[in-house]
């Protein structure tokens, strides 16, 4: 905890223009709080966004910021990070931005493992264009562009990230303020692309998309707060634990938190991460939040810098004159 920076050091002078009640406000507040806690000076932080409601984010941060093109923030952020590896770079994106128009850039960012933090605000709708179904909307969703219900099956962002080779995959929720903040602090500590899906309520076009498990009254019964090394348990009154049945999970009632049948969370286990990512609150199963997966793997930006250093060490600083005066030359 650094006393040096306060949340307000990360707040810009611009009027925040999201709809009143939008989940983006809560996320903005937690990002600012997390950065203050991390103690990075604001000028060492760059926030890169694409297009969409969430992508207005950089304007509200008193850091360096670049509001770029729809879906392309990962590519801009990669170029920036390769040019300035010392910066803390945050990519702000949404479900349409990251998974529809920008799907290609997202998967390639994740496989390269550039040291960035990607915050995907998932509200399961297109907000800025006024309410069309998105690549995370449920099948059959009725919107202006799908009056009889949408036909396409949704992406599960976490499974996309795991499939693309992400080295850090986590989820939080806009209104789980404490959880969100600590998840952001943890994400920044990871070297590599930290992918954090944040469920975000769009109260104008998709209100209540997550209330089935985020409402205070049901939250503790439906949400599984995962903690590394701890048993995977949940439930307010009745306690449940995740156990293995065949090649799948089952929920078992427990009385003892240390019940040996219950799985312990191990974020280094990718198979476990895949199973956890598929849990969506149906069939008596919970919705997991927290860290799903973390892997230590060299980052693209450090390997990129290493090659430059190696070339300079082996070949010395390039001498242009000898580069030009090479091959078969002749004198007239």
């Amino acid at each position: 905890m650094s006393a040096q920076y306060k949340k307000k050091d990360f707040m810009s002078d611009q009027l925040v223009r999201w709809c009143p009640g939008c989940g983006d406000y809560a996320i903005l507040s937690q990002v600012q709080t997390a950065l203050a806690e991390l103690g990075r000076p604001p000028h060492e932080v760059a926030v890169i966004s694409g297009i969409g409601c969430s992508s207005r984010f950089p304007y509200y941060m008193n850091t360096y910021g670049f509001h770029t093109l729809h879906g392309r923030a990962p590519a801009f952020a990669t170029g920036l990070k390769l040019a300035r590896p010392e910066l803390s770079v945050w990519v702000i994106t949404g479900d349409g931005d990251a998974l529809s128009i920008g799907g290609n850039h997202l998967i390639h960012l994740l496989r390269r493992n550039v040291d960035l933090n990607v915050l995907l605000f998932n509200n399961r709708i297109y907000g800025l264009t006024k309410g069309q179904y998105s690549p995370t909307s449920e099948v059959g969703k009725k919107t202006k562009s799908s009056p009889m219900g949408s036909l396409d099956a949704p992406f599960n962002p976490l499974e996309v990230a795991l499939g693309a080779g992400a080295t850090y995959v986590a989820r939080s929720v806009d209104i789980f303020t404490k959880h969100l903040k600590s998840q952001l602090v943890d994400a920044e500590a990871h070297r590599g692309t930290s992918f954090v899906e944040i469920y975000q309520n769009c109260n104008i076009f998709n209100d209540g998309a997550f209330t089935a498990f985020t409402e205070k009254a049901v939250r503790d019964d439906r949400v599984l707060y995962m903690e590394p090394g701890k048993p995977l348990v949940w439930g307010a009154t009745t306690r449940y634990g995740l156990a293995i049945q065949g090649l799948d999970f089952k929920a078992i009632e427990i009385t003892d938190e240390e019940d040996p049948r219950v799985l312990r969370h191990d974020p280094s286990n990718k198979i476990l991460a895949h199973f956890l990512a598929r849990l969506d609150g149906s069939d008596g199963m919970p919705v997991p939040v927290g860290l799903f997966y973390r892997q230590a793997r060299p980052t693209y930006d450090s390997a990129f810098a290493d090659q430059v250093a190696e070339a300079r060490q082996k070949l010395g600083n390039g001498d242009l004159a000898s580069l030009i005066d090479a091959g078969d030359t002749w004198e007239v």
Binding site: L82, E86, R312, I324, D325, W330
Partner: protein, 609 residues
């Protein structure tokens, strides 16, 4: 008895199957000829497929070289000598030959299977009428090569891979060239493969000896060295010169250069050339697609590096939105477009100049950019340095419009004096006092470049319209008009960096205007018709946006204006619109560069009109 004649200039074309190594022997002949001191120009002409079906007409790969004892500007119109390694190579190239041309054919490439793959019902070598205008030397090159390398115990396949060197040895004899440069090159290339080296050397020497002892050729030729300006020279392709130019620009700016690119013909060689330049402050990033390539380059520019992206026409189409963002964000960016035949996938390995309007206007909204087009392979060096200078001094994207002909073509390059190239000043601002992201230099209208990480200067940029000065998002109607006009004016003021236009030829009469890679053919055509006593002036435009300040005056001085272009009249359209001049087009859009005689004929026609 063979005699040696002196020739002023010669055009040779090596043609064979894509797998026959014709580009390699063409390259070797070029190298030897350059070292000998001839002026020269080359034109590699190969199929889009890496290995189109062997033996077919579609699979024919050609390499043309024009060399002379005087300045030349083109790879030549008609071929004086053709090496044809198989039937398809012969029949697809006959039309390029002048009367009396020498043809060296590999008779082993004319078997029944070769004829059928070349879609021939009968053997063209038996067609006396077809070959009557030419001097044909028949040699069973494949068989002879196998014989020459036999003592080395190679497989037949390995032995056959040496047959291109046998053919090269024959051509070296005919044109009185030494074997040593190629021998030395082979020695280096196969330094770790003694057997292959010996085989290649044996084939090369056997070819030369075969040609010499059998006296198959009535005459051999020698082309005396050309008179070059004093200096040091080397051969260079356009793509390589461009890469070295970018490395030079990086050092002149004192910043790293970031090249984001996605593989595409004919621009990939720039990526290949830059990738090993890591110790020169050049980094390369092979992106997942064209869009990511330009976006990463802009991200790097935002971070204070020189962001460059390179592609061809289809890639530019994909990058358009991002280039517009660089216009809006006022960040430097160089966009290299090595033009090829279009639209769509078009003719990937053939040349064209049809991306001029795309470079000038191919974006949504009013999005002005600077556009520079190199004149020749060697000129790509200086054009690249200039493109970086324009981008940095204007905080704006600058296009570098090369083409397949320039990119792959080679010519002698007089090595530049590096000290004579002025530094490029990035002008990073680090002083927070009175700083606003869109404050401007009153003369150049440039906004300050501030690198993220600079203390106390945090600010936000993006694609939404900006209020001049503060850089805050602004929907104000009059501000938008002001900003659109300002961005255009900022690019126009880059005219300060453009030298006066040089006029070649006469100050009145017909003005011929060329741009980009057609300079050589247009200049040769102009000179040819001027020799006939016509009054013709010629200017060549390297700067397509902004245009030179003196251009309007020059155009007004001539009775008529003719613009030869490898498109359907794109520059002519620009000149008509900018200067209300009756510029007429001479268009060729066949994937091939202009021939001198085509330009000359168009000039005569225009004069007679």
């Amino acid at each position: 008895m063979a005699t040696t004649e002196s020739a002023e200039n010669v055009v040779i074309r090596f043609a064979g199957d894509s797998g026959d190594g014709m580009q390699l022997v063409g390259g070797q002949f070029t190298r030897t000829t350059a070292l000998f001191g001839n002026d020269l120009a080359t034109f590699p002409d190969f199929p889009a497929e890496i290995r189109a079906p062997a033996g077919t007409r579609e699979g024919v790969s050609g390499f043309q070289i024009h060399f002379a004892d005087h300045d030349i500007y083109t790879p030549g119109d008609e071929t004086d000598a053709l090496v044809a390694m198989n039937a398809a190579a012969l029949v697809t190239n006959l039309a390029r030959l002048r009367e009396g041309a020498l043809i060296i054919v590999n008779t082993d490439g004319f078997g029944p299977a070769d004829l059928s793959k070349a879609r021939l019902d009968s053997d063209p070598l038996e067609d006396a009428a077809l070959l009557a205008p030419f001097r044909v030397v028949k040699a069973s090159i494949t068989t002879l090569t196998r014989g020459a390398v036999e003592p080395l115990g190679l497989s037949t396949k390995e032995a056959d891979r040496c047959k291109n060197l046998f053919a090269l040895g024959m051509v070296y004899w005919v044109y009185s060239r030494p074997l040593e440069p190629t021998e030395a090159w082979l020695g280096e290339k196969f330094s770790k493969k003694a057997q292959i080296l010996e085989a290649n050397l044996a084939a090369l020497r056997a070819g030369r000896n075969y040609a010499q002892t059998l006296e198959l050729f009535q005459d051999t030729y020698s082309v005396p060295p050309a008179k070059f300006e004093k200096g040091r020279y080397r051969m260079i392709t356009g793509n390589r010169a461009l890469a070295i130019g970018l490395a030079t620009a990086a050092q002149k700016t004192g910043q790293n250069l970031f090249y984001g690119s996605y593989p595409i013909t004919p621009a990939s060689d720039i990526l290949h050339a830059l990738a090993p330049f890591k110790n020169y402050g050049v980094t390369t990033f092979q992106a997942e697609d064209e869009i990511a390539a330009v976006c990463a380059a802009i991200g790097a520019s935002y971070g204070g590096s020189l962001g460059v992206t390179g592609t061809s026409g289809p890639g530019v189409a994909l990058k358009g939105e991002a280039i517009g963002l660089a216009v809006m964000a006022e960040l430097p960016l160089v966009v290299i477009c090595v033009q090829r035949g279009g639209p769509s996938t078009g003719l990937p390995t053939k040349t064209e100049q049809a991306d001029l309007l795309q470079a000038l206007y191919g974006r949504n909204g009013e999005a002005p950019v600077a556009v520079i087009a190199p004149t020749s392979p060697a000129d790509c060096f200086m054009a690249a340095v200039q493109a970086v200078r324009f981008a940095v001094e204007g905080m704006v994207p600058c296009f570098l419009l090369s083409d397949g002909y320039i990119g792959n073509g080679t010519e002698p390059w007089q090595l530049p004096d590096l000290d004579a190239i002025p530094d490029i000043e990035p002008g990073f601002r680090t002083d927070p006092e009175g700083f606003e992201p869109y404050m401007r230099d009153p003369d150049t209208l440039r906004r300050p470049w501030v690198v993220p990480g600079t203390p106390d200067m945090q600010h936000r940029i993006g694609g939404l319209e900006k209020q001049d000065g503060t850089g805050n998002v602004s929907y104000d109607p009059t501000n938008h008009q002001h900003m659109c006009e300002l961005r255009a004016e900022k690019v126009k003021r880059l005219q300060r960096l453009i030298p006066p236009t040089e006029i070649h030829g006469d100050p009145d009469g017909l003005l011929v205007v060329s741009w980009g890679g057609t300079w050589g053919a247009v200049r040769s055509g102009v000179d040819a018709v001027r020799k006939e006593g016509q009054r013709i002036g010629m200017i060549h435009l390297r700067h397509l946006n902004p245009l030179p300040t003196d251009l309007g005056d020059i155009l007004a001085r001539y009775d008529r204006v003719l613009v030869p272009e490898l498109n359907l009249g794109q520059l002519a359209r620009v000149l008509r619109q900018e200067f209300l001049v009756d510029a007429r087009s001479f268009c060729k859009i066949q994937g091939q560069p202009f021939l001198t005689r085509e330009v000359a004929a168009a000039i005569r026609e225009e004069i007679a009109r």
